[in-house]
């Protein structure tokens, strides 16, 4: 056997190209394309009275100006509601260009196409839109009270109302020796990938074909959506995701208005057209996530075991629901984490507001759910004077109880059933890593120095690798080059490398001979997309299955040529050879020649193959009835359910007694995503997730004013953490293989960010001695909380009054 690739921290195949300026992102393509720019609504809620473009048409270089009434047929119809749900009784979507009414600042109203972006923006500035302003609905409280409506025909602003209950929660609460209710609040944040959205389209008039490139997380989804909107046969539309500069969820939404309008304009004008989103547009015209209000009522016994969990969520879905209600459904199910909740009821209302729409952002509802559950765990511990890890431990689902069925439906409409995980082992690891049992001594030392420190913990379970399917296709050329394709897209996860690692091991070929293509509908037309931490699980498994097919075929052909049994053969570094007699061998390239009876290309490999004439039988066709020419194989992976990864984080924070500045001194992660394909890449995913979690816990928020203006729509004001804000991240791994897929893997993409707000809240609470119920938290917020605590408006934690009382300086 050659060096094992699967499981090794292999350097990425992508990187030499990307570090030398060889990346090709959306705006690096189409230098000859016309540029699209948009007039966007300056109001959160308004009726469009008149659009006057007279001054713009004369701008030198303007090619076209379009408003809603210019859009024919399906182009002008509402955008699709991608994921309907029976409880989404009042789903609403916008139009590619606003028709009559705008529902958030940033909604596209007019499209200008011009020779370049500068000219297109000049024209946009000369277009005057007259609006009649309507009262805006901003914030969850305003949406919930229902006095003002976002959509006239949606009573109470309720897009969806959903209830899931397991057991009798009312009876269990009534019978609980202890009950507590927590009121919690999580603010909005957003993906903000470094590259915004973008789309570029070329229309081939002679062939009646459209080719488009989109900075998307689903090229097959965009392709189908655009074909439907433009009334084109699917066969006449191809979509390619080039290098994508980060996604984190926002680029799974499709079709964006621009993804419909740019191809439409390219066909109409007979010229290539491109749209590249700028940073302000990304803030006000893409999507946000996270915003929820939560009421959590828990019943528990004297040992801290949950008997009942009753959760109510009010979820801000923004102005429209093109992506359905995936986010609150995930919150309501993944909230349970590694615990047995006793009787469980979760009721949520998904509410419209006059703000940017809300669609999944890395974690996709889980950070909010984790926040609710972990705040509850800390509250139980505090109420009963128990160690916080002990309470968690007593509520864990045990390895002996796996697979564990919660009796709920998950985001994919399938049972919420954990496949594997060892939560006590994970807890032991995180306690050891952070030094949980030694913290009291550390705190005593710090307090003696006048410093205030706290320790926090957070645990989560993440359903990853949801279906329905992905495919893998592998073809070996006569040179021995192995071409691998899968349809889902890449945004920096290292797919070229990890998929090549899988193929190298499955086939017995060198890593450098494997070439992976993702997100190109010309290579693999059947695909779902990159979201839900599903790429490694879904495409990785499909590619492994395809590789096994190719291997079987290669061995069959080689066995025939070498006149041995396939069982006696092995493949090592691209050569098929007889076990124990390696001199009897042929390269996979030669096998590829033999797999195809047509050999016009008489290259070296073909020449080498002539010695293996095989047996000629005039009664058989050159390609057998049950065979195909070529050394290739295709397979699909479609699981019965998601596979559940898990992790536990702990942090030590220091809060300045005077300025309320919050500093993370240590951040520790224990992560279990099953068998790891490439630990270096898994760790990178964890790092990135934690950094986004830190942003969401301490810095990032969407500052909407009461009129629905986003006040911090720039990187000057929306504080994405720099290196100076992200702590050193200490990691440890546990590998509990998934029994569900051929490789034993679970997803890792989103994990890092899920528990961070919960962990930081837990640690700040521990430092300060009063409950933290609202995240993110800034020094200003903490200072205000201290003031209110000192004034008696916020109670102390029990443990704060049981131990030495803390000094409050505010």
């Amino acid at each position: 056997m050659t060096t094992q690739m699967f499981g090794a921290p292999i350097r990425r195949k992508e990187d030499p190209r990307l570090v030398s300026g060889g990346g090709r992102y959306l705006d690096d393509l189409g230098h000859d394309a016309l540029a699209a720019a948009f007039v966007r609504s300056p109001h959160a809620h308004a009726r469009i009275v008149e659009i006057d473009a007279a001054d713009a048409v004369d701008v030198e270089g303007v090619v076209g100006i379009y408003v809603h009434e210019d859009l024919p047929g399906r182009v002008g119809e509402p955008l699709p509601l991608l994921i309907p749900h029976p409880t989404l009784t009042h789903g609403r979507t916008g139009h590619a260009l606003a028709r009559d009414e705008v529902n958030h600042v940033g909604e596209a109203v007019v499209m200008v196409v011009a020779t370049d972006r500068y000219v297109a923006e000049d024209a946009c500035q000369r277009i005057r839109v007259t609006y009649e302003q309507l009262p805006p609905v901003v914030g969850i409280e305003a949406a919930r009270d229902g006095v003002r409506l976002v959509h006239d025909d949606v009573p109470g602003n309720v897009a969806a109302h959903m209830l899931q209950e397991v057991g009798d929660v009312d009876a269990a609460l009534a019978a609980s020796p202890h009950t507590l209710t927590l009121e919690l609040d999580i603010e909005r944040s957003a993906c903000t990938p470094m590259e915004g959205r973008g789309v570029y389209a070329r229309w081939d008039d002679e062939r009646g074909e459209l080719r488009l490139w989109s900075s998307t997380q689903t090229s097959t989804g965009v392709r189908a959506a655009v074909a439907a909107k433009l009334d084109l046969p699917l066969a006449k539309v191809e979509c390619i995701a080039p290098d994508v500069g980060g996604g984190f969820g926002v680029k799974i939404v499709h079709p964006w208005p621009e993804e419909v309008l740019v191809p439409w304009a390219a066909r109409l004008l007979g010229q290539p057209v491109k749209f590249t989103e700028d940073r302000r547009e990304h803030f006000v015209s893409a999507a946000h996530e996270r915003g929820q209000l939560q009421t959590v009522t828990i019943g528990f016994d004297d040992d801290g075991r949950l008997l009942a969990l009753d959760v109510k969520l009010w979820h801000d879905n923004g102005a429209y629901t093109p992506y359905g209600i995936i986010v609150p459904i995930i919150t309501s199910t993944q909230l349970l984490g590694p615990y047995k909740p006793g009787a469980y009821r979760c009721e949520f209302w998904s509410l419209y507001t006059n703000t940017v729409l809300v669609t999944p952002y890395r974690g996709a509802g889980r950070p909010q759910g984790c926040f609710a559950m972990e705040r509850a765990m800390d509250a139980i511990a505090d109420e009963l004077a128990l160690d916080r890890t002990e309470v968690r431990s007593r509520n864990f689902i045990l390895p002996s109880e796996m697979p564990y069925d919660h009796g709920l439906l998950f985001q994919d409409g399938r049972p919420l059933k954990y496949d594997s995980g060892d939560f006590p082992a994970s807890l032991a690891k995180i306690k050891a890593l952070v030094g949980w049992d030694d913290f009291a001594a550390y705190r005593a030392t710090a307090e003696a120095e006048g410093r205030r420190v706290g320790l926090g913990i957070g645990c989560y379970v993440e359903g990853t690798g949801v279906g329905p399917y992905e495919g893998g296709h592998i073809q070996i050329e006569t040179s021995g080059r192995v071409n691998v394709s899968t349809g889902l897209t890449s945004q920096g996860q290292g797919h070229e490398t990890v998929f090549a690692q899988i193929v190298a091991d499955e086939l017995g070929v060198r890593l450098e001979d494997v070439h992976v293509t993702t997100g190109d509908s010309r290579k693999m037309a059947y695909a779902v997309g990159t979201f839900a931490s599903r790429a490694a699980v879904m495409s990785g498994s499909a590619i492994a299955l395809a590789a096994r097919k190719v291997r079987t075929k290669a061995l069959r052909i080689a066995a025939d040529a070498l006149e041995v049994s396939p069982q006696d053969l092995e493949i090592v570094e691209g050569t098929v050879r007889v076990k124990g007699a390696p001199a009897t061998s042929m390269s996979l390239g030669t096998v590829s020649v033999l797999s195809n009876p047509l050999r016009y290309a008489f290259d070296e490999a073909a020449q080498a193959a002539t010695q293996f004439a095989g047996t000629f039988d005039p009664d058989k066709p050159p390609v057998a009835d049950d065979d195909e020419p070529g050394l290739e194989g295709r397979d699909f992976y479609s699981p019965t359910q998601a596979t559940f990864a898990n992790g536990m984080h702990a942090a030590i924070v220091e809060t300045d007694p005077v300025t309320a500045e919050i500093r993370i001194l240590r951040y520790c992660v224990v992560h279990d995503c099953g068998t790891m394909i490439n630990p270096m890449i898994v760790e990178g995913q964890v790092h990135g997730g934690v950094a986004q979690g830190v942003g969401g816990a301490l810095y990032e928020r969407m500052a909407y004013d009461e009129s629905g203006q986003l006040l911090n729509a720039s990187f000057m004001d929306f504080l994405v953490p720099y290196a100076s804000e992200v702590p050193t991240i200490e990691t440890d791994h546990l590998e509990t293989p998934s029994p569900l897929n051929p490789l034993g893997i679970k997803g890792a993409g989103e994990a890092g960010c899920i528990p961070v707000s919960a962990v930081i809240a837990s640690a700040i609470e521990d430092a300060e001695g009063f409950p933290i119920t609202r995240m993110p938290i800034s020094p200003n917020d903490l200072w205000e909380l201290r003031r209110r605590h000192a004034a008696g408006e916020i109670p102390s934690l029990h443990r704060a009054t049981r131990t030495a009382p803390k000094e409050t300086t505010a």
Partner: protein, 184 residues
Amino acid sequence: MTDVETLHDVTVTVNGVRRTAAVPARRLLSDFLRHDLRLTGTHVGCEHGVCGACTVLVDGAPMRSCLMFAVSAQQHEITTVEGLGSSTDARVAPTGESLSPVQQAFAECHGLQCGFCTPGFLTTVTAYLEENPTPTNEEAREAISGNLCRCTGYQNIVKSVLRAAEITAERRGEAAASGGGEPA
């Protein structure tokens, strides 16, 4: 019709090559490099000077090319990510690309994921290591704290800076040894 914009001839030396193009006065240097010269390795992440993705070296000093007009680069020497591999201490990777020590270090340390912000980090770190060839961990972190990355959480970028310093020292040592006559 509005007036046609006045064009200005801009001549700059980019990655050692004299380049001339006629551009409007308002043309950003970032757009000039990307769209007029088609050097698309320089990326634009915010267009307000915060993210650092568009950082290039102007006469060796890191500059945000989105905050500079092409006309103000007249007669200056610019290095973009495409030019880093031409440095004397670059080496050809097995895949064929010529990589400077900083580029090599980022590839070795998994210092990038999507790669969009990376050119800005590479140029920034290249200039930084000229000033401070032996940074500490803390100094390395400080050196990159003006550039945003949304993928990596910066952990491996800090490692990359330290590794780049090592590789630079190694390669300069090799060069000195091979250029220094008889080995001792």
